[in-house]
């Protein structure tokens, strides 16, 4: 009996470790393909991200100091951990805290290289962190107010999708996704194409295997972030998935119809309108005392 359970957990664990990067890889392949088509190009093959990563692993490993890669490993592990905890439906607040570790590690990694561009990129990333962290936490608080628990597993017992009562937070989350996916208009700390004033921002000094690990971690992160969107319609997984995919597509489109804005603009925008929206939504729930559990 016990071995059986363990086996089940083991299989689950393996699935959690293996499936997301596959999905993430395909997603980022789709991203590039769709972007190309939006620009009237053919674009790379779907598996191009995979080729990139394999290539990067085969490159020489160059660094500017011996310990910069430690941050990358930390980032990787904690992204995986936060995704793991999300899939294990654990405490939402803790997930975000763990996710913060990952991001902070990446930021500090960028700063630690001492290169001016990556440092400025990291500084800007801290600013975007300032912009998105509150929203994520508001999302959690909203969820808590609706379900009375911080545990994601409780969502399974709800009778209405979160989106019903958290529409404003959903809109806020769309903006957060833009920040997190490093898409225009908020791709000032680093961007997928290096045509920006900071070269490659935070990742300027990373190359070879380290960059490959960052890339793989990004795949996990893609799934993680879309997972957050998925939670908005937890009651029906199909709709949730569709919601996540639509969001993803929307992000790609937004990326292609916006110029990069300044971080100041973003900060002003998030700290007034976006946070305002979130607080309004939470107040609404508080005042009407809505519960969906």
């Amino acid at each position: 009996m016990i071995t059986l359970i363990n086996l089940k957990i083991l299989i689950k664990l393996l699935l959690i470790l293996i499936l997301p990067p596959v999905i993430g890889c395909i997603l980022s392949g789709i991203d590039r393909k769709v972007t190309a088509h939006l620009q009237g190009r053919v674009g790379p093959p779907l598996l191009q991200p995979l080729y990139d990563v394999i290539k990067l692993f085969n490159k020489e490993n160059i660094v500017v100091n011996k310990y910069q890669n430690v941050y990358v490993i930390t980032y990787f592990i904690f992204v995986v951990l936060s995704l793991f905890m999300l899939l294990m439906k654990m405490d939402f607040l803790m997930i975000i805290f763990v996710y913060t570790i990952a991001n902070t590690s990446l930021i500090v990694g960028g700063m630690s290289t001492g290169s001016p561009y990556s440092r400025i990129g990291s500084v800007r990333e801290t600013i975007s962190m300032l912009a998105y962290e509150p929203i994520l936490l508001f999302y959690i608080i909203g969820m808590y107010m609706l379900t009375g628990s911080f545990k994601i597993s409780k969502l399974a017992y709800t009778n209405k999708p979160l989106l019903y009562y958290l529409p404003l937070i959903f809109i806020a989350m769309l903006f957060i996704m833009t920040i997190k996916f490093k898409k225009s208009p908020f791709d000032f700390s680093t961007s997928h194409h290096a045509h920006q004033e900071l070269v490659k921002g935070m990742f300027t000094e990373y190359s070879g295997p380290a960059l490959a690990i960052i890339e793989v971690a990004h795949w996990y992160e893609y799934v993680f972030l879309l997972g957050l969107i998925f939670l908005f319609w937890y009651t029906s997984p199909i709709i949730g998935l569709i919601l996540a995919l639509i969001t993803f597509f929307l992000e790609i489109v937004i990326d292609n119809i916006c110029a990069r804005l300044s971080w100041e603009w973003m900060l002003k925008f998030t700290w007034t309108i976006i946070i305002g929206l979130s607080i309004a939504n939470i107040l609404f729930i508080y005042l009407y005392n809505v519960k969906i559990l």
Binding site: A36, K59, K200
Partner: protein, 154 residues
């Protein structure tokens, strides 16, 4: 999968572009390779801005006394295996400017050049040819680095 493991490098050659003494003609033709009509990203080619992540160094224009330092630095900062592509007559030999006082000559005076793309300016097709050739050499170099003794096996 087998196909991938054979052509690891040539499937995603990332490019960094250095403009030395170029007259812009070659530069804009190189940039034109990335635009929808030629779309080098089809072949996995991305213009990454930083040498640290690049596999191919595309040099346009000849070397002069001020930019050789830049060129050398950029080359040194690239991880192995790496390939240098000289695009245009200037980069190959100095072109029409080869006898100017501030032109040292083609960039092969400074770096080991692997692919020469002739023309002034080369058409984007030529540049893409050059990049494809470069990615093939990249793969060769990778194999050479991996099996230092066995030599090239293709």
């Amino acid at each position: 999968m087998a196909g991938i493991s054979k052509n690891i490098m040539s499937k995603s050659p990332w490019v960094v572009h250095v403009n030395c003494n170029s007259c812009n003609g070659c530069d804009i033709e190189f940039l034109a390779c990335l635009t929808p009509i030629y779309d080098a990203e089809r072949l996995g080619i991305i213009n990454v801005g930083t040498p640290k992540q690049a596999d191919i160094l595309v040099v346009t224009g000849s070397a002069n006394y001020k930019n050789i330092d830049v060129l050398k630095n950029i080359y040194n900062q690239m991880p192995e295996p790496k390939v240098v592509v000289a695009v245009g007559a200037c980069a190959c030999t100095g072109g029409v400017f080869h006898s100017c006082y501030n032109v040292i000559g083609g960039i092969d005076e400074i770096l080991p050049v692997d692919v020469y793309v002739p023309g002034c300016c080369p058409k984007p097709e030529s540049i893409i040819d050059g990049l494809i050739e470069a990615s093939r050499i990249l793969e060769e170099k990778r194999i050479k680095i991996k099996n230092p003794d066995k030599g090239v096996a293709i």
